[in-house]
Symmetry: C2
Amino acid sequence: MMNRSFLAALSVTAAAVSLPAAAQFQKPEDAVKYRQSSMFVMGNHFGRIGAMVQGRVPYDAAVAAANAEVVSTMSRLPFAGFVEGTASTDKGKAKASIWTDRAKFDAGAKKMQEEVAKLLAAAKTNNLDNLKAAFGETGKTCKGCHDDYRNQ
Amino acid sequence: MMNRSFLAALSVTAAAVSLPAAAQFQKPEDAVKYRQSSMFVMGNHFGRIGAMVQGRVPYDAAVAAANAEVVSTMSRLPFAGFVEGTASTDKGKAKASIWTDRAKFDAGAKKMQEEVAKLLAAAKTNNLDNLKAAFGETGKTCKGCHDDYRNQ
């Protein structure tokens, strides 16, 4: 059902993106659902920070930090779900180029995780300008991989 | 899009289950997807601990603790997604009794969060027997609410 060495990597952000993960999902559909679920939760909490950054809700430093904590946890999860043989041609789904171009995909994931770490640090400074800057940089890394690796 | 007082509660486990949350989701479907996604991710990582508890993978204290950390973060999230008007009669989906019986449902959520806190503490003791005991108690709280509030 799962791979011990992968699990060990859960606590090591940089390593978590590149280890084989197929063994921990019983069916390919579980891997797909796992990556989609963790991305959705990450996006929801990232969006709550966005609402503050964009002035749609009042800035609250503690709330921003709590959301950034969730984003940080989630940022480490989805990539284990990108197991071989789970590409799709459907809109909004994973392109086959993820697997033919895996090193670049993994580098994109790592870059996102690094920006999320900065986002969390920025959220903890209790300064909205810091949060805005880090939110923008993080958002670029989301968009970069979505543009390249998600069917439009 | 969201409710400031709810967001503040994200960092306060006990409060997170009982505050109104509808305002943070743009559509009811988003709330449903959010609760299902966070439950799925929680279940996945809880299941990885279960594999160790049941001897299907070797016990690794650091891995167990890393998974328990994810479970702990996730345990606070799903309940915001149980907004009014999102019951279903489909198998595996939320029963209407959640909303007619909300105080009991919320108490069940709180109990689960308390057991997850104990699970995380147990995982950090580096003792498999402690982990087994806490895993069992946590699992009962999952099953309790699923039996009562999820269509069979």
